[in-house]
Amino acid sequence: MSSLLRIIAQRLLLGVLTLFIVSIIIFTAVNMLPGDFAQAILGQSATDEAVAAIRRDLGLDQPPITRYWVWLTDTLSGDLGTSFAQANFASFTGSETGGGTTVMAQIAPRFENTLFLAGVTALIAVPFAVGLGILAALFRNSAFDKGSNMFALTSISSPEFFVAYILILFLAVLNPILPSLSNIYEGMGFGERLQKTLLPALTLTLVVTAHMMRMTRAAIISLLASPYIEMARLKGMKPMRVIVHHALPNALAPIINVVALNLAYLITGVVVVEVVFVYPGIGQLFVDSVKIRDIPVVQACCLIFAAAYILLNLMADILSILSNPRLRHPK
């Protein structure tokens, strides 16, 4: 077990290093984009004086290295700062930052919404995909196998917004069962929130199913040729029992990895679906912030995205180790 703890500690440390590198890359990338916050927010009304005033207020006139250093030290002390947009208004009203919204306060409700959507999707998609994968392995090369493969591949090959519109057409326009607008807000009841989240969750389910389902199917089928499965079959076990009791536990590691990868995708990659359904998640905030070059928010979002990948991958590795006795007790 101590080896497991050591692995976790090692991976967390590497994770922090990754976050650091990610933050440098993002900061450089956003700075390389044409225009800055002052020009973006003023748009057509950008006069030289106004641009200079905003830059001065926000410290954008400092060299990039200084700005990055200030951001880094603040972040290390747990302060993600105030978004440029909010800081700009604070200087407008002359009320310093008095009660100004911090990046944390801005992101928290959006991130909560994103987690909610990811959670609902995962609850539907993971059992659905794994179940479908097991059945496909069980009835491999049958019409069912081919049909479900085709269905999964078709939905992953179509762009997300297309899948979304198809679902809207069938479930909201032609048969008004579900709302096409997922504008959830604070104080909304759980039932209503769930109902409004269902369409985007279904869309995402269709998008992520293929990957998980095909991995499940492939992992199980590759085991079906091994001698111990042969043995189980020769004992006269039912095919379903052979797969669920004997093949599946040994196929878990790759399945868990794929599930973790898809969960991370659900947190970081759902911008398009959020836009189509007007879902107030972190993706929209992220895109808005990139558009106006609001670096503190962009950085914070990226850290969250990177952390989600790192943590979910770590969890996947731990779970695969735990699911495999050979890895649990290394020689």
Partner: protein, 518 residues
């Protein structure tokens, strides 16, 4: 061409490029209280707040100016000016000193009574140290604001301005409670018909009708209003088609037919002052030669642009920025597309052919690159070779506009002639995107100053008419089209006969003017 009246510019339906002088059909005669309006609006940002100085798009102007806050004056749907927090006003003969009587018995949503101090302090916000308010030029033209009584304010202007009461209707100039402005900006405390219940920037606004208001019986019919930020065109259309919102702004022309086919949805279309332009820098060769500018004016097929870029949802412009929602719009002669005229003027300029770059990006307006290419194709016949330079949308307004000699641009238009001209055509102002000054037309700059202080309406009509003709003939801007405001609403929403055409969505005042008929 028939004279365009500013009252008659409403039409429901299409009829490309033709202006029928009819109002929208009356759906319900009587407005009534009750119900809830849910509108899906574009133009929301995560940086939105109740600070009027930062408002630049429909979402916040509809929530603040159109519901929670009031200004001193208001442009009515028919374009006339009426008092909002001011009841009446009068000017000295030189239009320099203006006395405004304020409405009595008005209270802010937190109970504070409204008075002269609120007006003065709210206006001063725009010229405060470091302020980046878009309305700063309006307020900085006031040399003195004096509280004469608790309900009377006297403004002394640097120079006479007959439009001053109009300027005070601007959506940036919201009135906040004096001494509590920070709190009012944080929580949305105004004198408007709707109290702010919640504002999630870039997501959602909810307002509830105040119990009693000075506009009772005239406006403010809904019990509650909700504005949902839907920046995506298709999502907005879907929300209306599936009945989750009652009204949307800026419909997508390409899918307009789908909305039309739905019997529960009505399309509302008004022609306003929003125009798309191609400004050239008149201090840069070859555009410093008036003959080159004239050749270019005849090189574009304006009707084609209206048909193909606006898909008929607009009217042809004649290089004057004064649109149909203006008081003194002149009846200008159309500028025909005529390659022979282009050649003639090029010859006048001593040229046989002209090679110019035209910078465009869809950041200027939707379809700007296509419009530039159409221009290129039509101008070629007249010996003008336009090289269309596609610019990146990011930083377009900082790096291309007023920097490159000729580019694409848009203006949302202004309520008054003077405001429009002094924003973009007065010598030395920062947004003068054609560098238009007295070297081009001393007469124009002179008229701009005289007309501003002129209180006689007939004389002003003459003066502004002449200015528009100067721009039509010699100006440095090509204004091929005015784009309509097109919005859609459920047929269960009642609307008055006349719909405002100064801004989208009935001048962003649908919360005040519309009602629920169910």
């Amino acid at each position: 061409m028939t004279r365009i009246s500013r009252r008659g510019l409403l039409r429901s339906g299409a009829a490309a490029g033709v202006l029928a002088a009819t109002g929208l059909p009356l759906r319900a005669q009587e407005a009534k209280r009750g119900g809830r309006l849910v509108a899906g609006l574009s133009g929301a940002n995560s940086s939105d707040s109740w600070d009027g100085r930062t408002h630049s798009d429909i979402f916040m102007s509809a929530a603040a100016h159109g519901a929670v806050f009031d200004a001193l004056t208001e442009v009515a749907a028919d374009g006339s000016l009426k008092g909002e927090l001011a009841t009446d006003w009068e000017a000295s003969p030189d239009a320099k000193v203006w006395t405004f009587n304020l409405r009595q018995g008005v209270t802010f949503h937190n109970g504070k009574p409204f008075g002269a101090d609120d007006v003065i302090e709210s206006l001063q916000l725009h010229v405060a140290e470091g302020s980046k308010s878009a309305a700063a030029p309006i307020v900085s033209a006031i040399s003195e604001m004096r509280k004469t009584t608790e309900h009377q304010v006297q403004f002394t202007l640097e120079s006479g301005n007959a439009d001053f009461p109009y300027l005070l209707s601007d959506y940036h100039l919201l009135i906040y409670p004096a001494g509590q402005i920070d709190e009012a900006i944080a929580n949305g405390i105004g004198t408007g018909l709707y109290r702010a219940v919640s504002l999630e920037p870039g997501v959602r606004f909810v307002g509830r009708r105040v119990d009693s208001h000075y506009k009772d019986g005239e406006a403010g019919w809904f019990d509650e209003i909700e504005y949902i930020a839907i920046n995506d065109n298709t999502a907005r259309m879907n929300a209306l088609l599936t009945g989750q919102v009652d009204a949307i702004n800026r419909i997508d022309f390409k899918t307009e037919a789908l909305l039309k086919a739905n019997p529960q949805v009505a399309i509302q279309e008004v022609s306003g002052n929003q125009h798309y332009t191609f400004p050239m820098l008149t201090n840069v060769a070859p555009f410093d030669d008036v003959n080159v500018r004239r050749a270019l004016k005849h090189g574009v097929n304006r009707q084609e642009l209206v048909d193909k870029i606006l898909l008929g949802h607009g009217i042809v412009g004649h290089d004057s920025p004064i649109g149909p929602a203006s008081q003194y719009v002149a009846d200008l002669d159309p500028i025909p597309y005529d390659p022979d005229q282009s050649k003639y003027y090029l010859k006048q300029a001593g040229l046989t052919e002209l090679n110019v770059d035209l910078s465009a990006s869809n950041a200027a307006f939707e379809g700007a690159v296509d419009a530039a290419q159409l221009y290129q194709a039509s101008a070629a016949a007249g010996g003008i070779n336009i090289n269309v330079v596609q610019e990146p949308a990011d930083g377009y307004w900082s790096n291309v506009w007023i920097k490159k000699p000729w580019c694409a641009c848009y203006w949302s238009g202004r309520a008054t002639e003077d405001w429009m001209f002094s924003s973009a055509y007065e010598e030395g102002v920062p947004w003068n995107d054609t560098q238009w000054d007295s070297k081009d037309s001393a007469r124009f700059q002179e008229l701009l100053i005289t007309a501003r202080a002129e209180l006689d309406s007939d004389k002003r009509r003459e003066q502004y008419g002449e200015m528009q003709r100067i721009l039509r003939n010699d100006g440095g801007v090509i204004i091929p089209m005015f784009a309509n405001y097109v919005q859609a609403l459920k047929t269960t929403v009642g609307t008055p006969e006349t719909i405002g055409n100064l801004w989208q969505m009935d001048n962003a005042r649908m919360a005040e003017r519309w009602w629920d008929t169910t």
